[in-house]
């Protein structure tokens, strides 16, 4: 639990309620969760703060994608673990994610799988 409290998670989703439940789930798990509704805000947050992991919805406001946010974050921290949360990913998107070492979780997400994936990625990155 102590480790987790120190882990800072940035979660981005354009659906307010979904974003809220993600934040609460993460907080309930003991993470330091920061939530952002837009890519624009997320990128601004990434410039200001350091995060241990980035969870990002694929389709965001104004045709922006989660990859934009992930790429922006990776420019500062190339090894930052990133998870793409999506209801639908085109084969090209899935290929792209795989090539760029981005985990993909398809909505509706099994919560156990969701938490497990985050924990695993954080642990791998720490190791």
């Amino acid at each position: 639990m102590a480790d987790k409290q120190r882990s800072r998670v940035l979660v981005v989703d354009d659906e307010r309620n979904v974003l809220l439940t993600y934040r609460m789930l993460l907080e309930q798990e003991g993470y330091d969760a920061t939530a952002s509704l837009t890519a624009k805000e997320a990128i601004r947050l990434l410039e200001k703060q350091q995060f241990d992991i980035l969870l990002c919805d694929l389709s965001l406001e104004e045709k922006r994608t989660g990859f934009e946010v992930i790429n922006a974050a990776r420019e500062r921290d190339a090894d930052l673990p990133a998870v793409l949360l999506t209801g639908y990913a085109s084969p090209e998107a899935a290929e792209y994610a795989k090539a760029n070492d981005v985990a993909v979780l398809y909505k509706p997400i099994e919560i156990e799988e969701f938490l497990k994936t985050i924990a695993t990625l954080l642990k791998e990155n720490h190791a």
Binding site: E15, N17, V18, L20, T21, Y22, M24, L25, Q28, G87, Y88, A89, S90, P91, Y106, K107, P108, I109, I111
Partner: protein, 737 residues
């Protein structure tokens, strides 16, 4: 034929009377006197003559007895016209010669007497320049002959001669009524100078009497001769009748048989020794004949009837045509019927055969006509241009499509396009007609007037041979290849449209699922957050909330799959998709303890959506895995032995190309050794939301499998046995892209 001459006094031999006239006279007298006591009276003595030739000798004898020195009879021959002395008493030969003359020697006094028909005294005509009494004897009678009487004719020769008014010329002395030839004699008597008028009258009357008597005898003899002639005719007729092969029957007005010939007797005359059957048959024949006669008599004049009679001897039926003609008497009275029967059995048989043959011919013609109509219908229905040509390669029949290309048969084709087409066709037909092969296939590029384009046609030709094996006609069918290609294209388009429709449906479902997905996510997360925070007693409600939400989440996920598989349609490699899918599920299957076997055949590329096909395979593989997982579940049998633990869990995938039809089909087989499909859902397993997996299943998997398969023009075959396994086979048509 007149019998007159034969026995007439004209032919009487001079010799019989001339030698020793005195003696002969005495002998003749004796003979006559012995016959009768009338002899003393000269007139009565004449009655002793029983034949015409006896009359004139008696007359001459009587004249001499009356005291005249000599007398003669000159007779005329109507045929030759000669007049000559045929009988005489006491006449010297040179004296007789004087009286030889001709009927047409008009200035001869003797001939004049004959022509006038009146007796005359010719001075100095007799011997020693004495006067000669000449008396003509011509056939005459006061009453008509019987024939003339019966036929009510008034111009009987005898009567005409009797009336001095209308006497017939000597050359024409033949009775028109009885056809009797008359006679003409002249009796010549030398008159002594002392002859008195009274003596002359006596002489005249005895000669007249003789002539009357002669006429009568002549008449009788004529009838006798006629009777004899008739006998001959009758005998001849009977011979004719007897020799006729056809039955001839003469019947009286009461239909009684007067006479019949041998051929008729065979059918109508009942012999004494006839058997009972023959007798009955002959009686029946008679009855039938009488009936036929009655009916024919009723119908009036000549008529005919068909009559079937039994030949009693042969026991056969013979068909006759009976023709009757009534017979009439001279007076026009009906005296009976003559019936001639002709055996027409063979004739009728032949007639019947001809009729039957005609009927057969007509039937055959009808069949040929029907065949021709049917053929025409077939030709019109084929929908390809058809050309029938004769053995010289000249077209004799076009169907309507061929007429579009070449013009109508017999029509003068003017336009360039059709003329060129005809030239090409003619060259093709000639080459084929004289080639060895019975059939030929080729190509003809022809101008197609309706579309104003040139079209390449496939030609298929065949030969029609006559009975001798010679080519009588050729038939050529043209097939528009471009039309065929167009059909193929249309089929592909229709398939694409189907796929597109399914994809669109999928996109719609996916879009809805996508929209539902986010609220779903929020709800699900919220439920998770409420875990361990529900008030005591509310846990069951919380559990329902959680499980039902999970179920909705699964449905949404499945529907999102449809959204994902709406990718493009094109040619793809089925084997690669199978391999990819198996690789994707490889680890899951391995964990479940399933061994997989892959058997990939040589498959041509298939047109369709690779993604959609991947969806089919994924769904079926997941189903197979789940079915086997159900078997592998902890066994509830009390003694702890698992009934399935030793059963091998196997998944088998196979692809094959079936080259049955034009391009064939591809069949993909997915077989498992799982729990099988429960009986109760077999009928409905392809319906949406039907599942055997309980809460874990969405009931959409097989529905999607079916939808995609059908949209690809394919078919699904399922065999399953509960507890043993299931085999799915997906048949997809191979479409050339």
């Amino acid at each position: 034929m007149t019998a007159g001459e034969g026995q007439s006094a004209v032919a009487m031999k001079k010799e019989s009377l001339s030698p020793a006239p005195a003696r002969s006279r005495a002998a003749g007298m004796e003979k006559v006197e012995r016959r009768s006591s009338f002899a003393r009276q000269p007139s009565l003595r004449l009655l002793l003559a029983e034949r015409s030739e006896e009359v004139l000798p008696i007359l001459l004898d009587e004249i001499v007895r009356m005291g005249y020195p000599r007398a003669f009879i000159a007779s005329s021959n109507f045929e030759s016209g000669q007049i000559a002395v045929s009988a005489e008493v006491n006449c010297p030969a040179n004296y007789i010669k004087r009286f030889s003359t001709f009927l047409w020697s008009g200035d001869d006094p003797l001939v004049g007497v004959l022509h006038k028909g009146e007796p005359a005294v010719l001075p100095h005509a007799a011997l020693n320049r004495r006067a000669l009494y000449a008396h003509p004897l011509i056939f005459r009678n006061r009453t008509r002959c019987w024939e003339a009487e019966r036929s009510r004719q008034s111009d009987c020769l005898a009567v005409l001669n009797d009336r001095s008014v209308r006497r017939m010329a000597l050359q024409e002395q033949t009775c028109t009524a009885c056809e009797m030839r008359g006679y003409a004699y002249v009796v010549g008597v030398d008159l002594p100078k002392t002859t008195t008028e009274r003596q002359l009258n006596e002489l005249r009357s005895i000669i007249e009497l003789s002539n009357r008597y002669l006429s009568r005898l002549f008449k009788v003899e004529h009838y006798y001769n006629r009777m004899r002639d008739m006998d001959v005719v009758i005998a001849q007729m009977e011979t004719v009748l007897a020799s006729m092969a056809d039955p001839v029957i003469l019947t009286d007005p009461q239909h009684r048989v007067i006479t019949q010939n041998k051929a008729a007797e065979r059918f109508f005359s009942i012999p004494d020794n006839a058997s009972e059957g023959a007798q009955r048959a002959l009686e029946l024949n008679n009855l039938l004949f009488s009936a036929a006669l009655s009916s024919m008599a009723m119908s009036g004049t000549d008529s005919s009837r068909d009559l079937t009679l039994v030949d009693a001897k042969e026991g056969e039926e013979v068909l006759f045509e009976a023709v009757t003609a009534p017979t009439y008497s001279r007076e026009g009275l009906r005296t009976g019927l003559v019936t001639v029967m002709r055996d027409v059995t063979d004739l009728r048989k032949a007639d019947q055969e001809v009729r039957q043959n005609l009927e057969k011919l007509m039937q055959a013609e009808e069949i040929v006509r029907q065949d021709r109509d049917r053929m025409s219908l077939v030709i019109e229905a084929v929908g390809d241009p058809i050309i029938v040509a004769d053995n010289a390669g000249k077209p004799v029949q076009f169907d309507s499509l061929a007429a579009q290309l070449f013009g109508k048969i017999g029509e003068d084709v003017r336009d360039q396009g059709r003329v060129r087409n005809l030239v090409k066709l003619s060259a093709y037909l000639t080459a084929f007609t004289f080639a060895f092969g019975q059939t030929e296939e080729g190509k003809l590029k022809l101008y197609h007037p309706p579309s104003d384009t040139h079209v390449e046609f496939n030609t298929r030709s065949g030969k029609i041979l006559d009975a001798r094996g010679q080519v009588s006609h050729t038939v050529t069918v043209l097939r528009d290849l471009s039309a065929l290609r167009k059909v193929e294209e249309l089929r592909v388009q229709a398939r694409m449209l189907e796929m597109e429709k399914f994809a669109a449906t999928g996109r719609l479902a996916g879009t809805i699922a996508h929209e539902v997905n986010n609220p779903m996510e929020a709800i699900k997360n919220s439920i998770h957050l409420l875990q361990n925070r529900v008030k005591p007693g509310a846990e069951p409600v919380y559990e329902i909330l959680k499980s039902e939400t999970d179920r909705v989440a699964r449905i949404v996920r499945q529907m999102l799959g449809l959204y994902r598989s709406s990718s493009q349609v094109g040619g793809f490699d089925i084997n690669r998709v199978v391999e990819d899918t198996l690789a994707l599920f490889g680890r899951q299957l391995e964990r479940a303890g399933v061994t997989t076997a892959l058997d990939l055949g040589k498959i041509p590329p298939v047109v369709g959506s690779a993604d959609q096909f991947r969806q089919i395979l994924s769904n079926l593989v997941v189903n197979a895995k789940d079915a086997m997982a159900q078997l592998d579940a902890p066994n509830p049998i009390p003694n702890g032995e698992s009934s399935v633990s030793d059963k091998k869990l196997r998944l088998y995938l196979r692809t094959r190309h079936l080259s049955g039809s034009a391009t064939g089909r591809v069949v993909v087989t997915i077989a498992d050794t799982g729990s099988g499909i429960p009986q109760n859902i077999r009928d409905s397993m392809f319906e949406p939301f039907v599942s055997s997996k309980g809460e874990k299943g969405t009931g959409l998997g097989l529905w999607i499998v079916r939808g995609i398969t059908q949209s690809h023009g394919g078919k699904i075959r399922v065999r399953s046995q509960e507890g043993r396994g299931t085999v799915f086979q997906i048949y997809l048509p191979v479409v050339r892209s």
